[in-house]
């Protein structure tokens, strides 16, 4: 049911953990629905120097978080904001239809962490003007 890529990221997830004194932290999803993603960012000169994640969820939630961290590590904030759930699905070489929401969560987790970074540093980030960190993006399957 899962691609090799998903299984690879599930069995060997990249960037698991926490960052102390992170520059931005984002958490999305809720335990009630069965998945929570938390992303920690370390940002220097608008570049994401380091990123870690913690996820409570199914195999595809863990794989989506893992690959999402890989996709933004070393990238500029500007590029990180542009990561879509579709890009996450493509990077994983596909997700089953009922698991697309996991990729949505991954996109939202990145945005949420960047939003937190922007708030802390009192800056506006292009592409996050309409972002609402408290909105329940969960299972928003039309977002693809």
């Amino acid at each position: 049911m899962y691609t090799e890529k998903v299984m690879d990221h599930f069995t060997n997830p990249r960037n698991v953990g926490e960052i102390e004194n992170a520059d931005g932290v984002g958490q999305v999803g809720n335990a009630k629905c069965g998945d929570i993603m938390k992303i920690y960012l370390k940002v220097e000169n608008d570049i994401i120097e380091d990123v870690k994640f913690k996820t409570f969820g199914c195999g595809s939630a863990i794989a989506s978080s893992s690959i999402a961290t890989e996709m933004i590590k070393g990238k500029s904030i500007k590029d990180a904001i542009k990561v879509t759930n579709k890009a996450v699905v493509e990077a994983l070489e596909g997700l089953p239809p009922q698991k697309i929401h996991c990729s949505v969560l991954a996109e939202q987790a990145i945005k949420s962490a960047l939003y937190d970074y922007a708030q802390k540093h009192n800056i506006q980030l292009e592409g996050l003007e309409d972002f609402d960190p408290n909105e329940d993006h969960h299972h928003d399957e039309e977002a693809e």
Binding site: P13, K32, F56, G59, A61, I62
Partner: protein, 393 residues
Amino acid sequence: MNKRVYLDYSATTPVKKEVLDAMYPYFDEKFGNASSIYSYGREAKQAIDLGRQNVARLIGAQADEIYFTAGGSEADNWAIKGIAYANKEKGNHIITTKIEHHAVLHVCEYLEKNGFEVTYLDVDEDGLIDLEDLKKAITDQTILISIMFANNEIGTIQPIEEIGKIAKENKIYFHTDAVQALGNVEIDVKKLNIDLMSVSAHKIYGPKGIGALYIKKGVKIHSFIHGGAQEKRRRAGTENTSGIIGFGKACELALENMDNHIEKLIKLREKLINGIIEKIDYVRINGHREKRLPGNANIVFEFIEGESLLLSLDLVGIAGSSGSACTSGSLDPSHVLMAIGLPHEIAHGSLRLTIGDFTTEEDIDYVLEQLPKIVERLRQMSPLYENVKGGQK
């Protein structure tokens, strides 16, 4: 393939060698249609009679009270719809529980759309119904009580004898889905006052695609499949001869081995449950601790999600199942775990391991060696576990 351990006997069981041997001749050598009068037909007819006797013997019924179906779900559908429509002049009310198999629940929901009323009884935290609730739910319109013998997820065994007594006193038909209980609990339909009972072969080392509905003599029920004289015109269609003989053989073996089987399974189950409790923190055992199926262990591991647990177990060759939403394709965790009062976030982390006749002590040792590592790895990844590690919980 590396080591594999199958612990999902409640999902299905392997067919035993003796069962397969009994079935083989009915595919080629004795392939006749039981409705034919020549020798080929008579051979098949004899096999069906024998199968029927064997199934009847395991549950204390008479052979002519056993009606073969394509499985447990069909038997449930037949029992409930057949009773509802045949007795609708008497009343339109059905009583069942919130933890039934979907083959019962979805039929009840269907009937609700067609003029019937259904009461879904609550269960307590162990999964047991309250007999007083049952008595109170009965009205002069009640025509059927359908309560499962033992639950497929948490293994809890209901007070069937008491339910049968209440049904009898109130002259209401009593159906029980005994798919999980068959072969794992002693069943005597007469002593337990059961009017209808669903059973299935593939849960007791028989083949898939064959089950039966026990219908007590005199019960007023509609036919399920029209179009032939098979099963006394109540369930038409050429009989699944090999399946029936196989089901019969599986029942015969189950009856012979019942005591040993139960004793062995309980021993392994307790070893598994106690080992898990000893080695892993933040676990809870679902279902009644004693009134449960001998082979059923249902455990919740807090802070992790069931599907990732199953995937991880599969990677080391262990096969189990979960009540997590992610394994069911829906967004809610299992209705059974909800009904026993588990919060959503906890129900997502459930694991069902079910033990059977081919499970060994070594299998359990292997699980007890692998499971703690897997749970710990997933917890290390879980944001829910962060606050717990420092002993803050």
